[in-house]
């Protein structure tokens, strides 16, 4: 890979007057002459590699384009993550530093970009990562369960107050345990749907599946949660089955309400 680029660059410097041989043409022709091995290496490479090489080499137009794309990636990520203008600006200059300069043992990011992915996507991932760091979203990890719980907080409903007071600990423990026991997929779709507010369509699009499949996952995840809570409560509390049903219904009705609210 590096060899091809290096060869191309060397070749261009040797014969600067030749303008017709584009890198694509060069690589294609190399592949034709040398066989499938290079073809496999070169195939699927993104055009952006040409731009990135230009920017790494200090071509002003290429550098400007890369900087603009990086800036747009930050804006995009910032709007999705709800970052402030200050946070975005900080990340913008941090991105510039990471992309264009090397320090210590860290090479410039543009120098290591291989062209296997799309530059915009790459920049977005970078921007998201840097923004998350800047916004201290790292801490969110431990917040997942409690944030979901908050959404279902039985205290929100006066009807549940009595049951909550009496069985509060048991209900919450059952809820948390049931949540923890969910399959990774069920947990993920519930989180994306309930906390991040992804619609069924967005779930489907991101998981590259039909919306009805995504929808079934959600239903199954809720059912899994419901069953989990139910079996725990039935085992722990010495109350009648109908009372367990009532509590589960109350807790899960909060899920329905939350769903309604999120989907509205």
């Amino acid at each position: 890979m590096d060899a091809v680029v290096a060869l191309y660059e060397r070749a261009r410097m040797t014969w600067p007057e030749i303008a017709r041989v584009t890198p694509a043409r060069f690589a294609t022709e190399l592949a034709r002459r040398l066989g499938a091995s290079l073809d496999a290496a070169v195939a699927g490479l993104h055009d952006d590699i040409y731009l990135v090489i230009g920017a790494s080499d200090g071509d002003p137009a290429a550098a400007e384009t890369c900087d603009k794309l990086a800036s747009r990636a930050v804006d995009f990520a910032a709007s999705r993550l709800g970052a402030t203008a200050t946070q975005s600006d900080d990340v913008r200059s941090e991105m510039r530093r990471l992309l264009f300069t090397s320090d210590g043992g860290r090479p410039a990011a543009l120098a290591t970009f291989t062209g296997r992915g799309d530059l915009r996507g790459y920049l977005r991932v970078m921007a998201a990562r840097e923004l998350a760091r800047r916004m201290r979203l790292d801490r969110r990890e431990t917040e997942l369960d409690s944030s979901v719980l908050e959404l279902f907080d039985p205290a929100l409903d006066p009807e549940v107050a009595m049951l909550r007071d009496r069985y509060r600990d048991a209900v919450e423990a059952a809820f948390t345990a049931a949540l923890a026991e969910l399959s990774p997929r069920a947990r993920a779709v519930l989180r994306y749907h309930l906390v991040d507010g992804w619609t069924v369509d967005q779930l489907g699009a991101r998981y590259a599946t039909h919306r009805s499949t995504a929808s079934r996952w959600l239903v199954a995840a809720r059912e899994e949660l419901r069953t989990g809570i139910r079996s725990r409560l039935a085992a722990q509390l010495i109350i009648s089955e109908s009372q367990v049903d009532a509590i589960v219904a109350l807790v899960t009705s909060r899920i329905e309400v939350s769903l309604d609210r999120l989907l509205a």
């Binding site: 993550l81 296997r116 799309d118 915009r120 998201a128 990562r129 039909h210 499949t213 929808s215 989907l263």
Partner: protein
């Protein structure tokens, strides 16, 4: 799980399973979670001019749709201009490929050509033929289009659809915005939602009808298509060529009638109207019955009741040509249509349809709104109200018909009462939280019992009297108080003697102050194409057909075209070449030379119609069609022989399709009518503006669509055509103030 590198995440190297496993991981990994939030789906970054997408250089934006933005672009390789559609969301690339694949299978003059399709980075695009023209919606708005012109454009677009259907492609989103009209060529584009026939079932083998119930919450987000043009079955994802036919008919109806066939703002509301067969037909439209019937069939809620194919529909709306071959094939279509008509008749009970009309307003969405705002009890109460309305309305519709004027009047008044109740309910439902409407039976909500036995001597409202009389103001007076607080109602005294109408439908359109001379339109079936003058001789009227004398002039005879001056010495007829009227003096029954001074272009709208002249011949009221609605306009001239000036909008008018029917001799009361009622607008002086007293004239709430005041407005001439426009016994009735 290890967090993948940025480049790996941005690449296409991960398999679907790997990517989904990473998504599951990202739900609990803070580092990856932020990235998952930013990963593309949903709107990508906007494309900017001069940017490159693939090899194409983007130019100016041509249009923006739900799925993508269309730009003019240049193909540098072939050095030709193209149109490029860039999808907002690259994850829709599957649909895009479907579009390209579908279109590649088509080579038809009425279908847009596709050159290239691809995905670069986050942008998915289709490069297409650049058509220099405007879309059908713009084309329709740019200038008044004649019926043959409109039909021709739709026939071409329809052929494009038919070709697509023949190739196994369903468009799924046919609408005026997706049809391009270029000189000499009409092209259907934007097959973005089209699917090949075999791909409708999902990968898991379930149809979208089986998706779990909570999907209802987002079902509108998932259904692709444009609600106003979508066939009912598309809501469940079941699009077929018949769905395109439905969309085609909605667009054609909109183009020909100037309004969409179904009202309502949500898909569900429109769907319910389509299912109930409730098609809105604007007053005054002059679309041939044959075409209207074909479109109505295409608009059937049940796809199996529509035409078999697009070609069959096109044959039914295509102009009839001379020659026995074509006549014969047309006859076959006509017979087929007739057979269908007879077959479907028993299912589509018109009275049931009348009754279920209420559910076009009392929809699930409305129910949810009321339940949220006012609670379950109130919602249940309104459901009972709607059911009672349906039963009463259906029963009234089914009552045996009669020719007794008193009964006709009673029935008409009851029908109008129910319709008014429905309209008031609909108004209230738009905002159920408004306190004065909060109590059913109070405010403007009409108790159904009131419609059971409408008192024909009902008082004309109790609105404040502008002249301080302390009594209800008499709209028909000379501007003074009525002197007593008695009812000011009208009574129908029976058909006007001597008017034996030659047609099957008629409409009064003018009368002299003394009622001795009337102007009316008549015609076979539903077209009003003959203009008659009727003079009272002794105790009956004698009619004379003015139509032949109008031949060769720049006028058109159709619904709402004409009026008579208050002294009977002139008629005003709609001008054909521009929105306005031409005045012809009348010597007895002989038309004089047209008075070109009146032939000014009166409005910027597409049509001026339903004219009313003041007694002094200086004020002209008319409706103008503007921005898809009808507005009441007024035009004034300084002297009776001067030209009328450009019209201006008259305030105080609330309902769509409410029009002026007459003005009192003192010029202080303007009578307004809609399909439900007649009401007066009054003013203090001729110079002042009209105000609405909120009065309704009870007896004129007749199904007839015009009530013209005569005899100082103490009498009305009103049109009553029982049983719709195909009735055999149209009648002009006279009503007298009691």
């Amino acid at each position: 799980m290890e967090c993948p590198s940025a480049e790996r995440l941005a690449s296409n190297e991960m398999t679907r399973e790997e990517r989904n496993a990473w998504l599951d991981h990202a739900a609990v990994c803070s580092r990856c979670h932020a990235i998952a939030m930013v990963m593309s789906t949903g709107p990508g970054e906007p494309v900017e001019p001069s940017e490159r997408i693939g090899r194409f250089v983007i130019g100016r934006e041509l249009g923006r749709g739900a799925m993508g933005t269309v730009f003019a672009a240049e193909d540098p390789e072939l050095a030709r201009p193209i149109a490029i559609k860039v999808l907002h969301d690259a994850t829709a690339a599957d649909r895009l490929r479907r579009e390209a694949r579908a279109l590649a299978r088509l080579d038809h003059p009425n279908v847009v050509r596709v050159y290239d399709v691809g995905v670069t980075g986050e942008h998915a695009f289709v490069a297409m033929e650049l058509i220099a023209g405007e879309n059908l919606r713009q084309w329709l708005q740019a200038a008044p289009r004649s019926l043959p012109e409109i039909i021709d454009v739709f026939l071409q677009a329809g052929r494009g659809l038919a070709a697509a259907h023949a190739a196994g492609i369903v468009h799924r989103d046919f609408k005026p915005d997706n049809v391009l009209v270029a000189p000499g060529r009409v092209v259907v584009g934007d097959f973005g939602l089209s699917r090949l026939g075999g791909e409708i079932v999902t990968s898991t083998g379930t149809s979208s009808l089986d998706v779990p119930s909570e999907d209802k919450l987002t079902v509108t987000g998932a259904v692709i298509g444009t609600p106003a043009y979508m066939a009912p079955e598309q809501a469940t994802g079941d699009a077929t060529p018949a769905s395109d036919q439905f969309a085609f008919c909605v667009a054609a109806w909109e183009a020909l009638f100037g309004a969409r066939p179904f009202s309502g703002t949500t898909l569900r509301e429109m769907r319910e109207q389509a299912s109930a067969g409730r098609v809105l037909r604007p007053v005054g439209a002059t679309v041939p019955r044959r075409i209207e019937r074909a479109l109505r069939r295409g608009l059937s809620a049940r796809s199996e009741e529509r035409f078999e194919t697009m070609d069959a529909l096109l044959a039914a709306i295509a102009p009839r040509r001379r020659g026995w071959m074509i006549a014969a094939s047309a006859a076959v279509v006509a017979i087929a249509a007739l057979a269908w008509w007879q077959l479907s008749r028993p299912q589509a009970d018109p009275c049931e349809r009348e009754g279920t009309a209420i559910f076009a307003d009392w929809t699930d969405a409305a129910r949810d709104r009321v339940r949220t705002a006012l609670g379950e009890d109130r919602s249940a109460q309104i459901t009972r109200y709607a059911e009672a309305w349906r039963d009463a309305r259906t029963a009234l519709c089914r009552a045996p018909s009669t020719t007794d004027p008193a009964e006709v009047e009673q029935r008409a008044a009851r029908t109008a009462c129910y319709e008014r109740a429905r309209v008031e309910l609909a108004r209230w439902l738009r905002n159920p939280a408004v306190p004065q409407y909060g109590q059913l039976g109070q405010g403007r909500m009409i108790p159904l019992a009131a419609c059971e036995n409408v008192a024909l001597t009902e008082a004309p409202g109790t609105a404040a009297d502008p002249r301080g009389c302390g009594c209800p103001y008499s709209p028909c007076g000379d501007g003074t108080c009525t002197g007593e607080c008695s009812a000011r109602a009208f009574r129908m005294v029976g058909p006007l003697p001597g008017i034996a109408l030659p047609g099957r439908q008629e409409a009064v359109c003018g009368a002299t102050s003394d009622g001795a001379r009337l102007l009316y339109l008549a015609g076979q079936r539903c077209g009003l194409d003959h203009l008659y003058i009727a003079d009272r001789i002794g105790d009956h009227y004698e009619s004379f057909d003015l139509t032949p004398q109008l031949g060769g002039h720049d006028v058109i005879v159709r619904e709402g075209c004409c009026t008579l001056s208050r002294d009977g010495s002139a008629v005003l007829v709609e001008r054909k070449s521009a929105p306005g009227f031409i005045r012809f003096p009348l010597d007895g029954t002989t038309l004089g030379a047209p008075d070109t001074a009146t032939a000014t272009r009166l409005t910027d709208g597409t049509r001026a119609w339903m004219p009313v002249l003041s007694r002094d011949d200086r004020e002209l009221y008319f409706l103008t069609d503007l921005l898809e609605r009808a507005w009441l306009y007024k035009s004034v001239r300084p002297a009776p022989d001067a030209p009328f000036g450009h019209g201006t909008k008259v305030a105080g008018r609330a309902e769509t399709y409410e029009y002026a029917t007459g003005i009192s001799d003192d010029g202080l009361t303007l009578f307004m009518a809609s399909e439900f009622s007649t009401r007066p607008l009054v003013r203090e002086s001729v110079e002042a503006g009209f105000g609405d007293l909120g009065l309704t004239i009870p007896p004129a709430r007749l199904p007839g669509w015009r009530a013209i005041p005569i005899q100082g407005c103490r009498q009305l001439v009103t049109t009553v055509t029982p049983g719709g426009c195909e009735s055999e016994q149209p009648t002009l009735f006279e009503a007298v103030q009691m």
